[in-house]
């Protein structure tokens, strides 16, 4: 394997996922403008934050005028799952120079991780395995930038009542439902959802934090009970 063949292996592994990511990126651009974010800032968010679902949430919170600290906290909470991917790829990247680690950490998304990990596990000793992750990460980054730019340019021309903001709950359903493969995970989802509805009148979506914590406790409790 050469750096070039490893890079293209990563790109090819990611390409099918762009089918889902490109419409999602376009819809993000539209939703960001509808939340009152200026076009330049909406486009820049895609490279500065570079996290699909967190960008949707952030755009919505800007739209309702949430406090800045709460918005940063919400983005951190949503993106905490990337720590899981970081721990998973860390052994493969261990011997690389720091500039590679910084670059690959920036590009470490749900999609890039999912596309690259089967190949990384198959080629753990290849000196060029990190090029696979770079190929997948770069392909996603490029697709995301182009599609959000398209959304930002289209956004001004689309009517607001198409219900495109419904893409956010739909995308989250698409991410979460396949993750629910145990009773403990189902409990975490049901409790978090129920508490979020009960506490929805708390200001600036602070009920969200309580709901997430309640879901975590419920999931951990069920897991502990199940393992006995």
């Amino acid at each position: 394997m050469t750096p070039s063949s490893a890079f293209w292996l990563g790109v090819r592994a990611l390409l099918p996922m762009l089918l889902g990511v490109i419409p999602f990126g376009v819809i993000y651009g539209v939703v960001a403008l509808q939340s009152g974010i200026p076009p330049l800032a909406a486009f820049l968010m895609s490279s500065v934050v570079f996290a699909g679902s967190a960008q949707f949430l952030l755009a919505q919170l800007v739209g309702v005028g949430a406090p800045a600290l709460l918005m940063v906290g919400a983005v951190g909470l949503i993106n905490l799952r990337h720590a899981l991917y970081s721990a998973s790829v860390a052994p493969v990247l261990h011997a690389l120079p720091r500039r590679w680690k910084l670059l690959l950490a920036y590009l470490l998304t749900d999609e890039a991780y999912a596309a690259a990990i089967p190949h990384l596990l198959a080629e753990p000793r290849s000196p060029f395995a990190h090029w696979i992750l770079f190929g997948a990460g770069f392909a996603l980054w490029f697709g995301w930038q182009l599609s959000t730019l398209a959304g930002v340019l289209l956004g001004a021309q689309l009517p607001a009542d198409l219900g495109l903001d419904f893409a956010l709950p739909l995308t989250f359903i698409a991410i979460v439902v396949p993750l629910i493969d145990s009773r403990a995970r189902l409990a975490a989802a049901l409790v978090a959802g129920a508490v979020a509805v009960l506490l929805v009148s708390m200001p600036y979506k602070t009920g969200l934090f309580v709901a997430v914590l309640a879901g975590l406790v419920a999931g951990a409790f069920m897991q502990r009970r199940g393992s006995r």
Binding site: F24, F50, V72, Y85, H94, I173, V177, V197
Partner: protein, 107 residues
């Protein structure tokens, strides 16, 4: 918020996101996270994304509504069924939107 304030907000969110993604890559070989942390991590995206989604489906302008006046609830159920059966991101989003638009026309 001004454009400058927004971009500063993006930088704060981006720095935090980057720190999360870099965390274990940077720590590899220096630090082993506690086992409870690793056990709890998989529940974080499930609890967070569900807590955001469920109120969007069950509430209409802050009021609980699962009747014919709330197409998002019914379209959401369609999307959940499709996601559980096919585990496809694209199919889930597409079926949910089609159901949502059809229900809007009907009601």
């Amino acid at each position: 918020m001004s454009q400058t304030a927004l971009i500063l907000l993006w930088i704060a969110c981006g720095a935090l996101t980057f720190a999360i993604r870099y965390s274990f890559i940077a720590l590899e070989g220096h630090y082993q996270p506690p086992s409870w942390f690793i056990r709890w991590l998989p529940f974080v995206p499930i609890a967070a994304l569900t807590a955001i989604t469920v109120p969007e489906l069950l509430l209409v302008t802050g009021q609980f509504d699962v009747g014919t006046g709330n197409p998002r609830f019914w379209a959401g159920l369609v999307a959940i069924g499709v996601a559980a059966r096919w585990k496809s991101t694209l199919l889930t989003i597409a079926s949910g939107f089609v159901a949502f638009w059809l229900l809007q026309q009907l009601v």
